[in-house]
Amino acid sequence: MSVSSLLYQIFEYNGSALVAMVGKNCFAIASDRRLGVQLQTIATDFQRIFKIHDKLFLGLSGLGSDAQTLHQRLVFRHKLYQLREERDMKPETFASLVSAMLYEKRFGPYFCQPVIAGLGEDDKPFICTMDSIGAKELAKDFVVAGTASESLYGACESMFKPDMDHEELFETISQALISSVDRDCLSGWGGHVYIVTPNEVTERILKGRMD
């Protein structure tokens, strides 16, 4: 076993699946619900998507412990920003903040891959993902992360259409998530979907194969 493949196993320790999609004046972000320790499932209600503010959501895949640490640090930074600037952070700014924080730990990184989704100026949907050292990847359609990412890429590429309304977007992202995690033993046990429009946030739990 090479060193790099041994190190990579840390990303697969807890198991995760994350996907975000852009629709017409809305976005959706979805995750699986499994918390595992390698082959053993510990919980089926683990939270991977966090609200930063009403129009900004952060999903963190990879090692659960680092996801919790990073989430706490980012909430701290955003609250400070709110106190100083007297407004919420724009998604583009937040993405740059996450990227900078990850690169700070370049030679001892957080073992997480974030997915950031938000509504920017004029409520234009914004999604991006980055690797564990902060290399940003902006996309106009969808972004994926986690142990099921390869299946997710395939499912999203085939199911995605531009300018879907929030109902159709919910159906599409749910189908893409469920079909992908069903092929991955380390993620699944249901799904958690957030649909965000300029006026409201809808949170739904998906029932999938519980295995």
Binding site: L35, I42, S65, Q68, T69
Partner: protein, 198 residues
Amino acid sequence: MECVFGMVGKGFALVVADSSAVNSILVHKSNEDKIMVLDSHKLMGASGEAGDRAQFTEYVQKNVALYQYRNGIPLTTKAAANFMRGELATALRKNPYMVNIVLAGYDKETGPSLYFIDYIATLHKVDKAAFGYGSYFALSMMDRHYHPNMTVDEAVKLADQCIEEIRSRLVVAPQNFVIKIVDEDGAREHLWRRTTKD
């Protein structure tokens, strides 16, 4: 070969741990207490590296007490769990504590709660938790027989079933187990399950 497991019932939480202190093939003692009583209403069952376990549980216990002296009110179970996670996470990249924790507590406002804390500082609030080789048997047993709002008798019966399974199916099963309970009256030792006297 250490096992710790726990579950939440109606108005109480239970933590069960084995009581063997082992070094390679030698059993030093079979009445080692691995469930620390943190304060009046919290139990911290810990398994893992023996030195780290003793050090970390005592460190947490003293800090929980210090908070109460400084602020006049005790920490909630959730706050104590997050404090532990923070300490484990900070130490993780310097000098990690190889300790897995099941934290059970009772708060007047929120009732009983149980927290799973991994040695890499993964924190999750759960209804049932288990660590060690015994977890393969205990978790499966609890998945089958656990239901919310069990009485103390039902929970002890389930704990006994888990212990029975561990004793019969684990090749180097621990000899003795201790069961501790926390409810609105406080945290205390409840029962022992022995096969050897120490």
